[in-house]
């Protein structure tokens, strides 16, 4: 993996240029839409990605998730997922 793929708590992820995330009532899920395709997101993926607005960093996102779901120790899970999302170009980081 290149250095650009390394995600830390300071990374600020934002939905990738050619992707769009939205809630789909019919599927009861968040989906990622892109040219001629769609990924149905599971709950945790959806919750993380909808927070990737280009405003919060991974640390903030984790804190918000832990608060919302009354959970602890999510840091590594979030980092792992954002790394995966980066590879898929679902998100870009700054």
């Amino acid at each position: 993996m290149t250095a650009a793929m390394t995600v830390t708590t300071a990374s600020v992820p934002k939905i990738g240029r050619h992707f769009r995330i939205q809630w789909e009532e019919a599927q009861k899920a968040y989906v990622l839409l892109y040219p001629e395709g769609m990924v149905k997101l599971n709950q945790s993926a959806g919750e993380i990605l909808k927070r990737c607005t280009g405003e919060a960093n991974v640390g903030d996102i984790t804190a918000d998730l832990e608060k919302t779901f009354n959970a602890q120790g999510l840091q590594q899970d979030v980092i792992n997922f954002v790394e995966l999302a980066l590879q898929q170009k679902w998100v870009e980081t700054t």
């Binding site: 050619h18 769009r20 040219p35 001629e36 769609m38």
Partner: protein, 385 residues
Amino acid sequence: MTDLAEAQAAQDAATIGPPLWLLAEVTYRCPLHCVYCYNPVDFAKHEAELSTEEWFKVLREARELGSVQCGFSGGEPMLRDDLELLVAEAHRLGYYTNLLTSGVGLNEKRIDALKEAGLDHIQLSFQDSSREMNDFLSSTRTFDLKRRVADLIKSRGYPMVMNCTIHRHNIDHIESILQLADEIEAEYVELANTQYYGWAQVNRDQLLPSREQLERAERITNEWREKHGNKMKLFFVVPDYYENRPKKCMNGWGNIFLTITPDGKALPCHTARMLPGLEFPDVRTSSVRDIWYESEGFNRYRGTGWMKEPCSSCPEKEKDYGGCRCQAYMVANDPNAADPVCDKSPFHHKIVEAVERAQIAGNPQQVKPLIYRGPKESLQLDRPF
């Protein structure tokens, strides 16, 4: 209606997923004359296009059921003057909107209007990497125009999705097609081998590549992938004639795809209207909900219950759902048969024979003149496929 029937209907609605993909074929008209055009051979008989309002109704009703990807195709969709209105309405309803175009008619003014309307993505089709072949295969002078349109698409910040239908006459140019894709900075490239429906079926023997051609093209595509990484996403689709198992056509009949033809027929796949003995519903007189969940046209080949041997007792039936109904009809003359691409089909030899002919360069079938898609040819041929 009895409670039981209602409960059953509710249960069906719960098990049949929504039509996630809506393909709006807004017109069969097209300035090009591609020899592999996927429109029905008798398209010229279906002229009465849906109005703007009727398309709005389709978009609304399908969205209510859960459609979320919307493709505007044709023919050449740019020939609809109200395309911007249709895109705007689709966007407003929450669709991800895709335009599938040959580029003809896409100028600065219209691309700006489409952007304004909320269009998300444009797929541009090329016939070949060279002006000569592109123009020969489409029987038009459109190559230079397409290059300009590619720049236009890029300049408006759209992802660049290039599509090139591959067959015997351009498959040996795969390297320069990839170079062209690179030059226009394509993010996605679809090198889809011709599927033998519509006009491609009329010209099948002239279009089917040899095994050697195919292997070479695949090798070059793989090498390109290794060299260039995932800067551009490459899709290479082999013709199913070279397989022993059919594809899971449309991801299953009436499973996620809903096509609406220019004249308002609802189809599980854009070629299905050729099938005999099956009435497909009309969006002018039925709601999309009734069409998707209740109509005979959509229910006939859903799941596996309709199958006969060799499919019905086959352990792989959930994997491919017996393949393509249109191919079964065209090759085995029976829409309920196994897709003859399958080597368990008693008609598989017909596929094998076509493939064998493709290995002999210059055989009489292959050098027949190509038939170009056009309204005159459509009426002359006067047949469904």
